[in-house]
């Protein structure tokens, strides 16, 4: 009995901790619920880039990242999936067609010089030297310890750069990235050999600045085109609608299941209902702490798992009722009910977890969300439906005889008419049966 009281307080503690987690942590909703754009881009080879190497992918990723960041939206995601694909996620999109405009044009790095236009106003004009001519850019420091961006041109670029610097000695030259001025260094002398360095006048570059520039230059230096192979864009209206409806469906589903359990299994049903609430609280806390991004399919998995979570309780209670019909006392009936139902519960949950693992490994992101919530649900339900329910059953019913069969939904005349339970000596010892 002492152990059971300790266990009871452990359960209370877990529920309280979960409550704190739910209260403190924000819920992470997927793009299909808050509205947003999810794109899968695929890098395409060109005449000059015959193979998509990991290096090429990294440059492409930097290029796309800088574009996505320009949209000025928080919490964007750009990550590589597979060998030649990028996943781009942009939340809070209101104009569904605008979101993907950033892939419209490929990255452009341009070297420009000053020239007078037709009206006699001085402006930056293209020199014909672009990112196509750059072979790579690296981050280094100069003799005084300042951060420096080093450029390395390919052979055509080296020739063009040599000619350009020859022409521009004493003047400024500008490096533009997607129309944005990154730096406009003064050319001190002609530079041959295909290597150049960009330093910042005045205070010098910070590490972040220089690093960003290297990334941008490397990205711009290799503009492989990317095409959209998959898109899921959901406007905020549909997202809000889905959230509201899922809430309603969840509450109705949960309430209906609880009413059913109460009506069919009576007092044990009530205990199962409490266990179900504990289950929902723990699971929701887990979603927030891990955190699991909740998508519409994920919520469907969560609601489905409510139905499955009571399965273990149904198995146990049916078994306990059988034992009671046979005339066992309460303590024994509850114990053997749990013990004998356990293998079924374990085996059946294992198969669900197997399918979830496979779905998680092979599925698309929508399917992954569903598999993850369902698998977490099954694992948590093993705790809530077995440990929690068993503890409460023992605390409430104690060890006496069953005086009111109605509490289990049994009739008085059913008692003592069950099957002849046969068990080995060891099982008898485990269930606490005294002959």
């Amino acid at each position: 009995m002492k152990n059971k009281i300790i266990m009871f307080w452990v359960i209370v503690l877990i529920v309280l901790l979960s409550g704190v987690a739910i209260w403190k942590k924000p819920v992470k909703l997927g793009l299909d619920l808050v509205g947003g754009s999810r794109l899968v881009l695929e890098a395409e080879t060109t005449a000059s880039v015959a193979k998509i190497t990991p290096e090429v992918m990294q440059r492409l990723q930097y290029a796309i990242e800088s574009r996505v960041n320009k949209l000025g939206v928080a919490e964007t995601v750009v990550q590589q999936v597979g060998d030649k694909r990028l996943l781009v996620e942009i939340p809070d999109v209101t104009d569904l067609t605008e979101a993907k405009s950033f892939i419209g044009e490929t990255a452009q790095l341009e070297f420009k010089k000053k020239a007078k236009n037709a009206n006699g106003v001085e402006e930056w004009v293209s020199t014909g030297l672009t990112g196509q001519d750059l072979s790579k850019s690296t981050l280094t420091t100069d003799a005084s310890g300042q951060w420096v961006v080093s450029l390395e041109f390919n052979s055509a670029g080296a020739k063009k750069f040599g000619d350009l610097t020859e022409e521009l000695v004493g003047q400024t030259m500008a490096i533009f990235f997607d129309g944005e001025l990154i730096s406009d260094p003064r050319v001190n002398e002609p530079i041959y050999g295909g290597n150049a360095q960009i330093t910042s006048g005045g205070t010098g570059f910070s590490y972040e600045e220089a690093n960003r520039m290297v990334n941008l230059l490397n990205a711009g230096a290799l503009p492989v085109p990317a095409k959209i192979v998959e898109e899921n864009t959901v406007g905020p209206t549909l997202g809000a609608d889905s959230v509201a409806k899922s809430k309603v469906a969840g509450i109705i589903g949960l309430t209906a299941v609880m009413l059913f359990m109460l009506a069919y299994y009576r007092v044990p049903g009530l205990i199962a209902d409490i266990a179900l609430i504990i289950y929902s609280v723990i699971l929701f806390a887990l979603f927030k702490t891990i955190p699991v991004t909740l998508t519409l399919a994920g919520i469907a998995g969560f609601i489905l798992s409510i139905g499955m979570a009571v399965d273990a309780n149904i198995l146990i209670f049916e078994r306990t009722k059988e034992e009671l019909r046979e005339g066992r006392n309460l303590f024994t009936a509850i114990n053997s009910g749990f013990d004998r139902a356990f293998t079924s519960i374990f085996d059946s949950n294992m198969t669900t977890i197997i399918t979830c693992i496979i779905l998680y490994m092979l599925g698309t992101s929508v399917v992954k969300g569903f598999a993850l919530t369902l698998a977490l649900g099954v694992i948590v339900s093993m705790f809530s439906a077995i440990t929690v329910t068993k503890n409460f059953m023992h605390l409430i019913f104690g060890t006496g005889e069953l005086k009111h069969p109605g509490t289990f939904g049994l009739r008085q005349d059913e008692i003592g008419k069950g099957y002849d339970a046969v068990e080995t000596k060891r099982e008898k010892a485990r269930f606490g049966i005294l002959d």
């Binding site: 309603v248 059913f260 469907a300 399965d311 085996d347 197997i354 399918t355 399917v367």
Partner: protein, 326 residues
């Protein structure tokens, strides 16, 4: 003798041929629909396949008006005029009881399926102008696009997932039970999957319902659940065999085991169906077909684990005994 405390409600062994016939009755219409579908669809698929697997774009517009069939016919004509070949149009009517909460006044959603729309295409703008001509204030609420190569890849992955899941379950069951039990459970899975696919094939022919990535997910969930059910029955057979193998025939043990687990099988499916029905009637529109597939699968999965799988185990055992007797 095992006494289940009441009379047996179902008789597996006695009415074996009835259960075989009922199984056939459940499966045959769907199989016919699938064969018919594969002869009439250009891609020879047994079901109407959505953009996830064929590639394509679905644009969804939220509308204030309730959309009628005449409207849809008019839309189709207008879309064909701007050069969209054979557009699929589907109308989802929203039971908008929660308008206050969501501040949306959308009463119906119209989804238009076209070929894959590339990023530089002006088709979305053209469709939008068609919609603006027909309806008062259409709002583009979602865009789903899958490139043609991606579709093939997703399809391959889905088939791989389905076969890996089945192999995993066979391996686990062979390890925990005997191989012939595993085989019976797998035939149960085939039964359930065939039924759900059959119904969706019919729905595809009649209501234009298309299968997508979520459909395969629903199938896999059904597979897990159906095996779940079957295991509980088999677990009971195994337990009863341990105690009563000498006193009762195999058939009697199967009958008793099924009846002992009957209340549990039905109640579990019932609670799961309750939550699914709540999702179907009150949940989001976008997951409706997904939930429907699960409702069908779980209902038929309960039938198959009670009647079909246990019947198979008994049937095989009979054949084995007959052989041994000869």
């Amino acid at each position: 003798m095992i006494n289940t405390g009441r009379k047996h409600l179902v008789h597996i062994v006695k009415f074996r041929w009835l259960w075989m016939g009922l199984t056939a009755l459940l499966l045959i219409p769907g199989i016919i629909a699938m064969i018919y579908s594969s002869t009439i669809y250009p891609n020879h698929a047994p079901m109407k396949v959505g953009i996830d697997y064929t590639g394509g774009t679905i644009l969804q517009y939220g509308l204030v008006e309730k959309v009628t069939n005449q409207d849809v016919a008019k839309n189709r004509e207008a879309l064909e005029k701007i050069g969209i070949e054979n557009p699929y149009i589907q109308v989802l009517n929203v039971n908008n009881t929660q308008q206050e909460q969501t501040k949306s006044n959308i009463n119906s959603i119209i989804s238009i399926r076209t070929k894959f729309i590339d990023k530089d295409s002006t088709v979305p703008q053209q469709i939008m102008s068609v919609m603006q001509q027909e309806y008062s204030n259409p709002e583009l609420i979602s865009v789903n696009s899958v490139g043609p190569t991606m579709g093939k890849e997703l399809f391959k992955n889905s088939l791989l997932a389905l076969s890996l899941a089945v192999l995993g379950i066979i391996a686990y069951l062979s390890f925990r039970f005997r191989f012939d039990y595993a085989l019976a459970a797998i035939l149960g899975i085939v039964h359930d999957v065939l039924f759900v696919c059959g119904v969706f094939s019919i729905l595809g022919l009649v209501f234009n319902v298309q299968i997508d990535g979520l459909f395969i997910t629903a199938l896999l969930t059904v597979v897990g659940f159906s095996v779940h059910d079957t295991i509980v029955v088999f677990d009971r057979i195994r337990e009863n065999l341990r105690y009563y193998a000498k006193k009762m025939t195999f058939g009697e043990i199967v009958d008793a085991s099924v009846n002992q687990t009957l209340a549990r099988s039905i109640n579990t499916s019932l609670t799961t169906l309750i939550t699914l029905l709540a999702l179907y009637f009150f949940g989001g529109v976008t997951t409706k077909d997904f939930v429907l597939a699960m409702i069908l699968g779980i209902a038929v999965g309960t039938y198959s684990s009670i009647f079909f799988c246990s019947m198979l185990v008994d049937f095989w055992n009979d054949k084995k005994e007959q052989k041994a007797a000869i």
